[in-house]
Assembly symmetry: C2
Homo-oligomer: 341 residues x 2
Amino acid sequence: MKIAVDAMGGDNAPEQIVKGALEAVKKYSCEIILVGDESKIREVLREENDWEKFPLTIKHTTEIIEMGEHPADAVRNKKNSSVVVATKMVKDGECDAVLSAGSTGAAVAAAQLILKRIHGIGRPAIATPIPTPKGVTLLLDSGANVDSKPEHLVQSGIMGALYAEHVLGKKNPKVGLLNIGEEETKGNEQAKETYQIFKNMKTINFAGNAEGRDIPTGDFDVIVCDGFVGNVVLKFGEGLANTIFKLIKESIDNGGLAAKLGAMMLMPTLKDLAKRLDASEYGGAPLLGVNGYCIIAHGSSDSKSICSAIGVANGYIQSNVLGHIKSALEQEELLPKGKRD
Amino acid sequence: MKIAVDAMGGDNAPEQIVKGALEAVKKYSCEIILVGDESKIREVLREENDWEKFPLTIKHTTEIIEMGEHPADAVRNKKNSSVVVATKMVKDGECDAVLSAGSTGAAVAAAQLILKRIHGIGRPAIATPIPTPKGVTLLLDSGANVDSKPEHLVQSGIMGALYAEHVLGKKNPKVGLLNIGEEETKGNEQAKETYQIFKNMKTINFAGNAEGRDIPTGDFDVIVCDGFVGNVVLKFGEGLANTIFKLIKESIDNGGLAAKLGAMMLMPTLKDLAKRLDASEYGGAPLLGVNGYCIIAHGSSDSKSICSAIGVANGYIQSNVLGHIKSALEQEELLPKGKRD
């Protein structure tokens, strides 16, 4: 198992990326190629005295795609950028998977342009695992595409269900369509049309519409939505959880002695809880629908998240989800005629 | 100030609605007409011995619009339903405002069909106040319409800014467009087009794109989005906050003696915080863009939320926001030509 890690992508690159990769080669049985500016990567590794004992190597690149750049243009023009080179290594069979915490748009564009889409898939989708009290719920698409057509959402549902089954180990996963009401007549045109296609499918366990309030409960295994909605929801969730915990902390700081003492006594319990809800434990989100294993990590990833994301990549490769998606799409009856592109 | 309250709408109707209305006539200087099944309303009032001392009257109706019904059809067919009769009382000048916690779709349809839209407004919008550490942020549209056009979002921005200024007392309110990135090139077609119109407007303080994570911080006074996205976001926020607090409670219950004692000592502080974040303190969301004052309350409203919502209605009526919206729309340069409907 060989994983190409974009060492230059992310708010804390290269330091946290390199450190996370080193943690991962110690933890998982995989080989990692750090792709990026060799001197900068070596500078981080200099602090780690034992790295040469592990299967960690460096592939030097000279360019970086910045956050503000137009993704497809940047991928086309910066042939020696870390994310492009790392993605090409998967295309060329040198690596089994690519992982990036850099510009999501650039990682998606690189995967689409270099690895290409799976035949039968119109748009790839980012499947983000959301921690819930009942385990993980997969939200997709969480930002690869906007203005998706109903058939793209249906394809996301198929891919999400296969990922939930083969990687997350969920039997007959419940797939929901994110909508503004339970009834099938509810929603915008996109959601209403998508509902009608899902309803008639026998290959996935379609459980109807999921409302916003159903996302954090874990009642659905997979929730399908447009990438615009998915991205807004994920970032809102992050912001809201941060705001709540920040306010709790402020309240305690401004509270009396009893509050402070109470907080101290409660701390181990709250830390356990925070760990359960910590998205960085899940690390990476697979980009489903391209011809190769590609993992998108959060821009703010620290070494722990990167290490988890590499763990995700490992499980993803071993599951052969790509093969399952391809054979599912070959079943002629899966999508209505004229709905495949 | 006379307010028509739909006594039959909402999960806890008529009991909590009637009790909330009684609290409100005691608290605010307004008159309330409870619209609904007289015998059922009287049954609730029987427990309250002093209600006849207050300006609370009953308008008997025989029909109820249920949650699952098609809103516009139900409004057309059930002429004697509580929400239709209450809305007509505003149209006929018998009341200054209507308030309903019943089917949002029905309340919006009744307002559109009976009160009609303000000239220059293509779609009305529900403006939901979201509590944040820096005060309230107004999210609109939060569910009146889906598949909105850019000009509808722009109209929402204008109305939201006027409400924020004249009702919430914010000077030169910052208006943001909900999007998946900060840059103006980001987003779906709807968001990109809307950005271009907002950018060139001089009558509102457009502060650029707001991401999901900016909703709970209070950095924007008004955040504009399509009703599909707004509804999903609001329900997700409710669900997530509930899940977090439920998990904290569970952790404490399953924790040791120290955790339980700590929680007890921390409780007053946490209760203060919960009150600050409690949406029911804000109670109702105005439906902006129709020719009359209409307040949408949450379906799960209890008497406290209903009382708060009546307080919101009071402030809303006194502010003359309708007049301000009308004169803003009369400024010819406000919207690009051909963009008014």
